[in-house]
């Protein structure tokens, strides 16, 4: 068998595989139909390794590595599924739920939420760490959209789509650690932002109920980020 020039050969879950130069573990794994859970990754956006759900074991590495931002190296031996990883992913999910107020039953994204369905996929039946129940705000100052900090998991998809695709960079993150939050412009009400073009891309890529369209609640609240790879491809071909 001959490989393409520069191709990396590696082993994933005991199977020999190859990757193109610079390809991430996540991308290579998906090509081989291997499931690695993700929340912050979105096809068409740059990866930042924010959610930590995609951590995998790499032989020789002293810690777990995020599959979305780690490039495949020649001879790598990767494990994407193990009791340790299953425990780790469960705990990551539990910490996400405990950090803010994720009340699925009364959320605008109920039944249309990537976080909610990921909890089911990963087999989470309860949260063992104490819930924090922080007092957080909701910004409904924008004419068409609402930001609810209670549901935000700081995946930064909104920040990336606004910067990388729309080119407005209205969104960013301020604060550190538990104080971190997404902001518009210089931490001002969304409705007063001078850079926001009201394109709504941030709303479509948000995996939870943190960003939603005001007239799209109830059964019409589904989101559709499928425009992203399309836009990317069209621009690359120009």
């Amino acid at each position: 068998m001959s490989a393409a020039p520069g191709a990396k050969t590696f082993v994933i879950d005991g199977v020999d595989a190859s990757a193109t130069p610079g390809q991430t573990i996540l991308s290579a794994a998906r090509e081989h139909n291997i499931f690695i859970p993700t929340l912050c990754h979105l096809e068409g956006l740059g990866d930042v390794g924010a959610c930590r759900l995609c951590l995998v074991e790499v032989k020789g590495a002293r810690r777990l590595l995020p599959a979305c931002t780690t490039r495949v190296d020649e001879g790598m031996e990767i494990t994407t599924n193990s009791p340790r990883l299953a425990d780790d992913r469960q705990m990551t999910m539990q910490l996400l739920f405990a950090e803010r107020n994720h009340v699925c039953s009364v959320c605008v994204a109920n039944n249309h939420c990537e976080m909610q369905s990921m909890a089911t996929t990963l087999g989470m039946t309860h949260v063992e760490v104490p819930y924090r129940f922080p007092a957080l705000t909701v910004d409904a100052s924008h004419e068409r959209f609402t930001l609810d900090h209670n549901r935000c998991i700081l995946c930064t998809r909104c920040v990336r789509v606004c910067s990388e695709i729309e080119g407005a960079h209205t969104w960013d993150v301020m604060g550190r650690g538990i104080q971190s939050k997404v902001i518009t412009d210089l931490d001002q009400p969304w409705g007063t932002s001078e850079t926001c073009t009201s394109c709504g891309k941030c709303v479509q890529v948000c995996p939870t109920g943190a960003l939603f369209q005001k007239n799209r609640t109830g059964e019409r609240r589904g989101k559709d980020p499928s425009f992203l790879p399309y836009l990317r491809t069209m621009r690359e071909e120009l």
Binding site: V106, Y131, A135
Partner: protein
């Protein structure tokens, strides 16, 4: 034929929706009922929780002093204790008041938006309702206070989910809903 199991259901800080979902099993409930004796429940006229119960399903979170006394007593007297629904498991809607606290919530509900003696009452609202169990500052899930043997999430869990869980329990197994049940 094996001996019938004793079953209890309890309603703490919740809306009774989980009990409604239990009844939504419809005729399947009649089929299952040959396998248990319902010894305590809001659905039957029994005032005292029995000394020994095989399976207890608990709906609702721990929101006040009475809930806490009950859950400790129930845990002592129950072999398999099951948290049913999101309130019991996460706090859910019952815990929406946690971010503002019990006093602020009482003042909003019975003070600002109500007519009557409590409206402009001085001092703490809780002191007005002396005959009622005291609210805790935070509503918390059951497993923050007692050990839980099985979790059945959902708001409410669907009748199908409860049917699966109860069937497993009656067959002597602990229901494993991981990968199936969802929150909300």
């Amino acid at each position: 034929m094996s001996e019938k199991k004793t079953l209890a259901t309890v309603w703490l800080d919740g809306c009774s929706g989980c009990h409604m979902s239990l009844l939504d099993m419809d005729e399947r409930l009649i089929t299952l009922s040959s396998q248990f004796d319902l010894v305590y429940s809001p659905l039957v006229d029994q005032k005292i929780f029995p000394a020994h119960v095989d399976i207890t399903l608990v709906e609702g979170a721990i929101g006040n002093t009475e809930d806490l006394e009950k859950i400790h007593m129930i845990r002592e007297r129950t072999r398999i204790l099951v948290a049913v629904g999101d309130c019991a498991i996460t706090g859910n809607v019952s815990a929406l008041r946690n971010a503002c606290g019990a006093e602020a919530m009482l003042r909003r509900v019975y003070g600002e938006s109500a007519q009557g003696p409590a409206q402009n009452a001085p001092g703490k609202m809780q002191d007005i309702f002396v005959q009622l169990p005291r609210l805790f500052e935070r509503v918390q899930p059951l497993h923050d206070y007692v050990s839980i043997d099985a979790f059945v999430p959902g708001c409410p869990p669907t009748a199908d989910t409860i049917h699966f869980a109860l069937s497993e329990l009656l067959a002597g197994r602990v229901p494993d809903l991981s990968g199936v049940a969802k929150f909300g």
